[in-house]
């Protein structure tokens, strides 16, 4: 049906009015170009944000005790709820869906006190008491040594896993600190491991200032008794953070005699909601991009349809003649559709490649800035899913064929007697 002769006819017709063909095609070209570049940028920003969130479990959940805000069972409001090891046992025994529970205690806050020393070097650190398995909640890489193990906890060993910044500050990056004694508030701990956080940007510095010690050791040497500062946990697969959080809150409220309606007494925060919020944001952005892109493309398609109508009006005589010498209606329709499809797909693919080229150039210029480990720029390599791009062009071609139907009908209905009448 579409042979070389038909192509010859089409290219001849399109090349006849080069400027107009170019202008018509540029509508489609821009539509695809803008869609591709916008999609690439959207993906770049999404990638950048995702990278900045690397290192957080996407479904982590945090719970802590606050002050009560309601009187309950004869107890007055304003009572401080403090969690302890018994709460840990109760949660593990009674709540379903807890994947990994990390009861935690912390000394100081980020960049507060210069608590940690080796020899004559002193630096600040965020020291915590933890159980083995916390690395499942805060993903990290341990290149040297190991993380805490159950024996450390059982024997209340004075051991510490230190972040890479602490390592660098106290020992220098090149020396091996494993087995060395460091002082945390004048108490000696043996370094058993160094970790690298999986975070990027600002968070990386903070996360590499952490020092992990066994929970039991921490509670004893720093006089915390049985106290737990807060819980970090990840639910088992298939359980939602929200649901598990509600179950644990209900249990803790019962154990600490808190009014079940008291929303303030037990605080909680989960990353799942945050991630869902961010995911929704990007779904919204993507929907926006597609809306703008498709609208731009539609404008291009209407433009093509319109120009084809004008072209057919101009070529009335030609179509009249073609009919008089034997062009059947289907010959005429085929010719119009082929002309439109050639114009649109040619412009579409040029737009696609120009868009990909632009993204490549953008990546080339931004990569030195965005790919640095401590980069705060929320942008990574802008990419476009080729399947999406090809699908967009296929949809575009179909749309233009539909748009070509109206001009084709016009051409088909040209009455040769009228078209050929001498002026």
């Amino acid at each position: 049906m579409i042979d070389r002769d038909a192509w010859h006819e089409v290219t001849q017709a399109l090349l006849r009015n080069r400027l107009r063909t170019l202008l018509t095609a540029s509508g489609i070209f821009w539509g695809i170009f803008i869609l591709i570049v916008m999609l690439g940028f959207g993906n770049g920003i999404e990638g950048g944000v995702k990278k900045s969130m690397a290192g957080y479990a996407t479904n982590a959940l945090y719970l802590w005790g606050n002050e009560t805000s309601m009187p309950y069972q004869g107890l007055s409001p304003g009572r401080r709820i403090s969690l302890d090891n018994d709460d840990t046992d109760a949660i593990l025994a009674q709540v379903d869906g807890v994947g990994h529970l990390a009861p935690r205690v912390r000394l100081g806050r980020y960049r507060s006190r210069r608590d940690i020393a080796y020899g004559n070097k002193v630096t600040d650190a965020e020291v915590s008491g933890d159980l083995p398995g916390y690395e499942k909640i805060l993903p990290m890489a341990i290149d040297t040594g190991r993380f805490l193990n159950p024996l450390d906890v059982a024997q209340k060993r004075k051991v510490a896993v230190i972040g890479e910044r602490i390592h660098a500050d106290l020992f220098g990056e090149d020396s091996n600190p494993i087995g060395k004694q460091i002082q945390i508030r004048q108490i000696s701990f043996t370094v058993i491991g160094i970790f690298k956080p999986e975070h990027y940007g600002d968070n990386r510095e903070r996360m590499s200032s952490l020092v992990f010690t066994p929970l039991s050791t921490f509670q004893q040497v720093f006089n915390y008794g049985q106290s737990i500062g807060f819980y970090a946990l990840v639910p088992k697969p298939g359980y939602s953070s929200r649901g598990v959080a509600d179950d644990i809150k209900a249990l803790l409220q019962k154990r600490h005699r808190v009014d079940p309606r008291d929303a303030r007494a037990i605080g909680d925060w989960n990353t799942e909601s945050e991630f869902i919020r961010i995911r929704n944001l990007f779904t919204g952005i993507r929907a926006f991009i597609w809306t703008v892109g498709v609208a731009t493309l539609l404008a291009g398609v209407f433009g093509v349809s319109n120009i084809m109508l004008i072209a057919i009006r101009e070529r009335r005589r030609e179509f009249g003649l073609r009919k008089s010498i034997g062009a059947t209606p289907s010959d005429v329709i085929r010719m119009i559709i082929l002309e439109t499809a050639t114009l649109v797909s040619g412009a579409g693919f040029l737009g696609l490649f120009a868009g990909l080229g632009a993204l490549y150039a953008i990546d080339l210029f931004t990569r030195p800035i965005t790919s640095a480990v401590d980069s705060d720029v929320l942008f990574s390599t802008p990419t476009v899913d080729m399947k999406v791009a090809i699908a967009a062009i296929a949809a575009l071609i179909i749309a233009s064929l539909l748009a070509a139907l109206i001009p084709a009908r016009h051409a088909m209905r040209i009455d040769p007697v009228e078209a050929l009448r001498a002026e």
Binding site: R16, R322, G326, D331, P416, V417, L420, A422
Partner: protein, 224 residues
Amino acid sequence: MIKLSNICKTYLMGDNPVRALDAISLTVDKGEFVAVQGSSGSGKSTLLNIMGILDSFDSGSYTLDDTPMDNLTQRQAAQYRNRFIGFVFQSFNLIHHKSAVENVALPLYYQGIKRRKRNAIAMEYLERVGLAARADHKPSELSGGQSQRVAIARALITQPSLLLADEPTGALDTQTSEQILDLFKGVNADGMTVVVVTHETEVAEQTRRVINLRDGQLLSDQRL
């Protein structure tokens, strides 16, 4: 060859119906050279368009080469036009973006003949009208007489049994008109039926049968 009986055709001019052809009956035999004359509005062009299956008629019957030409689909009409009929128009109607040889070859495109072959055939016909040297020229580079000769070559290339010409010399000077008429005489001598619509008596005089129309009716029909 052509058998028209009781052909009527009315069309609307604004809101007024105009009777273009009023019960025309006419027979043209194979190999005739006929001129159709009449003042403007006499229906001569309508008659030619009906003969060429470009136009429909309201009543009556038309057989071409013993084939009835009523109730044809558009597709059938196009195919009959392609195979049986060659058209020559007053304003040549060449396609501007095609060269002379491509214009001549166009009817063969609709027969599905490959480009190389049809252009070769088109060259033969251009040679016949004396324009082989101008084969690659665009219509804008041709004179009126040359353009009409290209158009005639295009009309002849399918070897039609009927050649229809609507004022073929209307846009040409006397000397070029002569050349065009000579071409018509030549193909007629080879046995092709030729019908020419003209208002020029000098043209009509060179044919062998003159039909006069007035107000859609046959006024006279004389063989010379």
